[in-house]
Amino acid sequence: MSAIYRAVFEPGFFSSGPVRVAIGLGTLTAVVSALVGVFTVIRGQSFGGHALTDVSTAGGSGALLIGMTPLAGFVAGGLIGAGAMEMIGVQRRRGRDLATGIVLGAATGAAALFLYLDTTQGATTGATQQILFGSIFVVDSSTVPYVVGFGALALVLLAVTYRPLVLSSFNPDMASARGIPVRLVGALYMVALALAVGLSSLAIGTILSTALLVGPAATALRITRRVGSALLLSAIIGVGATWAGVLLAYDSYYWGAGGNGWPVSFFIVAAVFVTYLVSGLPARRATTRPGRPTSPATEVWGP
């Protein structure tokens, strides 16, 4: 028994300081991303959520350039990007696709420039690696209070707007007929999204943070039709994937001879992806209607 235990948890896992910080931060990040992500998936804004991560890449690398902590840049970039997408038209579905793409392209261009300047002018070697792929093990403990603060803010925003947000995500027309300020609710939700993206950018890197945002939520919405249970399930899946990722990454230092670990981000994303695939299996077997995939929106709201 203890042999199995030792095989799963390599020595020092629980007493290691970086691991504790990583687990704490990872849990918070995963919960915030998973909860916000449920609405991202319902609203069909996966692309928007992903584009925000690229905008925060620009923000994070810009912050490094002027000597600030990347977290400030991630959040500021996310907020600006959310504002820009809101302005050039995210209401219509097709126009939204294009508007998102344009913001995304411009932001990546800026990120390219900032990262270039980071690596050529600044003393921040490894900026590309740090910003893009992140590492939960090297998060500076002085940023922990900010992480907690931003995470709490995102959760409060979700809690405050919960009912109108649910209604306007499923059915904007009915929501505005009932007098809900759909635009305002949407804007507040975008702020929560920007915060969530900023946090997960710090933890698993900007270009992978989409995984924590979309993966657990999409899996949860495949399994349950109710928003409440989807939120709970999504948070559980997100946290589980993060813990598994941290554990495997820690263990991986002992796998090879070189003492060179595998990236945490890879394990987290792999766990998320496998969960998504597995969650589709029962549905595939049980399905009686051939063809047409049903969107979660119609599953929850529909006939």
């Binding site: 097709r94 800026a110 990120a111 420039l113 993966g215």
Partner: protein
């Protein structure tokens, strides 16, 4: 700027511009911007993996972008399309991160894969890139009518026997081919800008499809040429200029369309 070592870059950039202009027109028409963004990122993983095992990076690019395209096509049949695209995208990126951490590549290599490097183009790359480019254009020419039909009026296309799902998968494969050839020049993250900005501008300027394709190619060529020239002069990454000019194209197109609409209202 036109020194011998730059000639290869100019030749490849021209091929890239033409292909991105043509393929991009359909990307914008079909609203598959997200897939067009996801597939190049998959290609990034391919290049990193090929580097790791010591194969030609063009081979890795081609194989992984095809895998990404087919994966998105197959999984999109059941799940929601945007969710599947997002997941495929991050999985590919995560694989890329893994491959990079396993190999001994140093930072500039990662950077140039993601954001482009024009000086590193060798003359041996020209032939494969030209062949892939011809393949893309050829595929678009062959698929032109059904692709157009299924993009604009999917119901009619379906009634005429065009399988919309098969069409989508074929189109994703074309994007994958276009990606594989362009990544070494403009980088995985920025080929996307080239496929979106110029075609979007062209579409807002004219409603006629063939004219829009020509315009889109012209704008894409201007973008990529200006980007290379500016990158050469300033030493800044070529990707930055492609991204900025791509967004600029779109802004001009939107502005032009609004101006024309205002004028026609006044008259």
């Amino acid at each position: 700027m036109f020194a011998a070592f730059m000639i290869n870059a100019w030749v490849i950039a021209t091929i890239v511009g033409v292909v991105a202009g043509v393929v991009g027109f359909f990307v914008v028409l079909r609203g598959s911007a997200f897939a067009a963004h996801a597939i190049p990122n998959g290609a990034f993983a391919g290049a990193a993996g090929a580097n790791l095992v010591g194969l030609s990076s063009l081979l890795g690019l081609a194989v992984f972008s095809l895998l990404a395209a087919l994966g998105i096509g197959a999984l999109g049949r059941r799940g929601r399309h945007d969710v599947v695209t997002a997941l495929a995208l991050v999985l590919m990126l995560a694989l890329g991160a893994l491959f990079l951490s396993r190999s001994t590549e140093y930072e500039p290599e990662i950077y140039s894969l993601l954001f482009g490097e024009i000086l590193g183009v060798s003359s041996a790359q020209i032939l494969p890139v030209a062949l892939l480019g011809l393949g893309c254009i050829g595929a678009i020419v062959v698929l032109y009518r059904p692709l157009m039909l299924s993009s604009v009026v999917p119901e009619v296309a379906e009634a005429k026997g065009v399988r919309s799902h098969r069409m989508q998968s074929s189109f994703l494969v074309v994007i994958a081919l276009a990606t594989a050839m362009t990544v070494p020049v403009v980088g995985a993250l920025l080929i996307f800008s080239l496929m979106i900005g110029p075609p979007a501008a062209a579409r807002s300027l004219t409603a006629r499809p063939l004219l829009a394709i020509v315009l889109s190619v012209v704008l894409a060529l201007l973008t990529v040429w200006t980007a290379i020239a500016s990158s050469y002069l300033t030493n800044w990454p070529v990707g930055f200029f492609v991204g900025a000019l791509g967004a600029g194209c779109y802004a001009l197109g939107r502005g032009g369309a609004t101006w024309r609409r205002r004028r026609s209202l006044e008259m």
